[in-house]
């Protein structure tokens, strides 16, 4: 039985974690993710969970403690944002290369500088090559649902990789919206018990973890690690299917919104997708064939499925909420364009940098993007490889 409620995105993730009842949660606070460990600490204090909550002195330590706990055989996670994620950088790679299932509730916030507390994706986008699975949410409901699916994906025997559950700082993390929650027992039986095959605290079979590898083995080790990523897409779909049976809410690798007959499409990640849907509905009422592809799973990148979903589209705007400083666009732009090239797409595509440091995205902004795509079609010219939206110039 679903429970209707109204929660902020941070409350929703904390609630999911209460229901999951993980073994270990080390945390260090940073805006805008602070509320997640804050709410969770109250669950611990009130005896609502059995979790070992470890207040640490830095994010370097929170991720290190989560890694240690996971290696020891515990279901572990932490939460952070922005500079906190940056301070975990080394540990992100340690977690992934040691094939340790654990979760990170990431509340996306701009990385310095200038110092800014608001949303963009520059923190997690920087970590896109760290070997973590990355999943993004449009709203509080998706953040909650993704968190509940996280450990099933991360701990799957074919995957065994850490997972980052991302949502937009303030825009969803601090916005109270309607949400449907699952019952505690439903969540606990869905997530199940964590039974690692090997773990440090197994007296029957002690384990060595965190090896040094000379050149002779390093490349084989990295290829071995990539194998987990190769399996992740199917596992994400399988877990989503099972979750749909439980919740009635369907998830895939991405969401295609009114895309089937669209001649123009926007590809984007996160909360602005909801705003884009409103723009699409307005334009559809005027007979314009416009659609959206909203990325849910960004790492691994479902390139072939994305290219397939965009195969009939004439013009595409790929929206990055992060500067890539490649002078060639942002990370999502690079990934989608590479996917289109491999699929021999003839679509006109451009890359738009938007929403940095919390810059607002209005329905009208997205209507303008679709209008610009129409101009691209008429002129048969995609124009600049990448450009900015909502910039004073």
């Amino acid at each position: 039985m679903a429970r209707r409620d109204r929660l902020s995105g941070n409350e929703a993730v904390a609630e999911a974690l209460r229901q999951i009842n993980p073994d270990v949660f080390p945390a260090f606070p940073i805006t805008p993710s602070t509320e997640i460990p804050q709410y969770f600490a109250s669950f611990v204090a009130n005896g609502k969970v059995d979790t070992e909550f470890i207040p640490v002195e830095s994010e370097h330590s929170s991720m290190s403690a989560a890694i240690g706990a996971s290696a020891a055989g515990a279901r572990a996670l932490t939460a952070t944002s922005s500079c906190g994620l940056a301070f975990m950088w080394e540990e992100l790679y340690i977690a992934a290369s040691n094939r340790l299932p654990l979760a990170l509730a990431l509340v996306n916030r701009a990385l310095s500088g200038p110092i800014n507390i608001n949303c963009d994706h520059s923190d997690s986008m920087g970590a896109r090559d760290s070997g973590w699975i990355q999943m993004y949410a449009e709203n509080n409901q998706e953040a909650y649902d993704n968190m509940i699916q996280a450990f099933r994906i991360s701990e799957h025997k074919d995957v065994k990789l850490p997972i980052m559950i991302c949502q937009d700082g303030f825009i969803t993390s601090h916005a109270v919206e309607n949400i449907e929650l699952l019952e505690d027992e439903e969540v606990r039986s869905f997530v199940g018990e964590y039974k690692p095959e090997n773990y440090l605290l197994n007296p029957e079979c002690p384990m060595s973890v965190g090896p040094y590898s000379v050149t002779d083995y390093y490349m084989e080790a990295k290829r071995n690690q990539a194998e987990g990523m190769k399996h992740a897409q199917q596992v994400v779909l399988d877990v989503a299917n099972e979750f749909a049976g439980l919740s009635g809410r369907k998830y895939g690798l991405f969401e295609a919104y009114r895309l089937e007959d669209a001649d123009r499409a926007v590809v984007m990640i996160g909360s602005a997708a909801g705003t884009t849907k409103d723009a699409i509905d307005r334009l559809r009422e005027k007979g314009e064939k416009v659609g959206l592809l909203k990325i849910r799973l960004y790492r691994p990148f479902p390139a072939e499925a994305i290219a397939e979903a965009l195969k009939n589209v004439k013009a595409i705007a790929i929206m990055d909420r992060a500067e890539g400083y490649s002078d060639h666009g942002g990370p999502l732009g690079a990934d989608v364009m590479a996917a289109l090239f491999r699929a021999k797409s003839t679509a006109l595509a451009t890359n738009i940098i938007y929403g940095l440091g919390g810059r607002d995205v209005r329905v009208e902004d997205m209507e303008q993007v679709f209008k610009d795509l129409q101009t691209m079609i008429v002129q048969n010219d995609a124009g600049d490889t990448y450009r900015y939206m909502g910039l004073r110039e």
């Binding site: 290369s97 040691n98 094939r99 340790l100 065994k160 095959e197 090997n198 079979c205 002690p206 384990m207 060595s208 973890v209 090896p211 590898s213 002779d216 083995y217 490349m219 084989e220 080790a221 290829r223 071995n224 690690q225 194998e227 987990g228």
Partner: protein, 100 residues
């Protein structure tokens, strides 16, 4: 995938590495032959040996086996040739080319 580290070698394929290169199981270092690392080896001169056993605990690789309270021949499969045992022996019962 195998955790059998004795099979690790320059011809090992990526498919045969363990996930995260973890090694599950204890005492597996015995299966890993480090003896080939050395260019020089200690030699045990039994007639000089008083069985004081001072050499045994100083060996970093536990390569001096003891049976019935007496040390026996070196374990050359794992001895890396560091020569510490030569320094520890008061009776000249261990020699090593290049080490006095």
């Amino acid at each position: 995938m195998t955790a059998d580290i004795s099979k690790l070698g320059l011809k090992t394929k990526w498919q045969d590495l363990t996930e995260g290169m973890i090694i599950a199981g204890s005492g597996t270092s015995a299966e890993f032959m480090t003896g080939e690392w050395s260019s020089i080896k200690p030699v045990f001169i039994e007639e000089n040996c008083k069985q004081c056993l001072l050499c045994v605990p100083v060996c970093p690789d536990s390569c001096i086996p003891v049976h019935d309270k007496k040390r026996t021949e070196f374990d050359y499969d794992h001895c890396k040739g560091c020569g510490i045992c030569v320094k520890a022996c008061p009776f000249g019962a261990i020699t090593m080319e290049g080490v006095n």
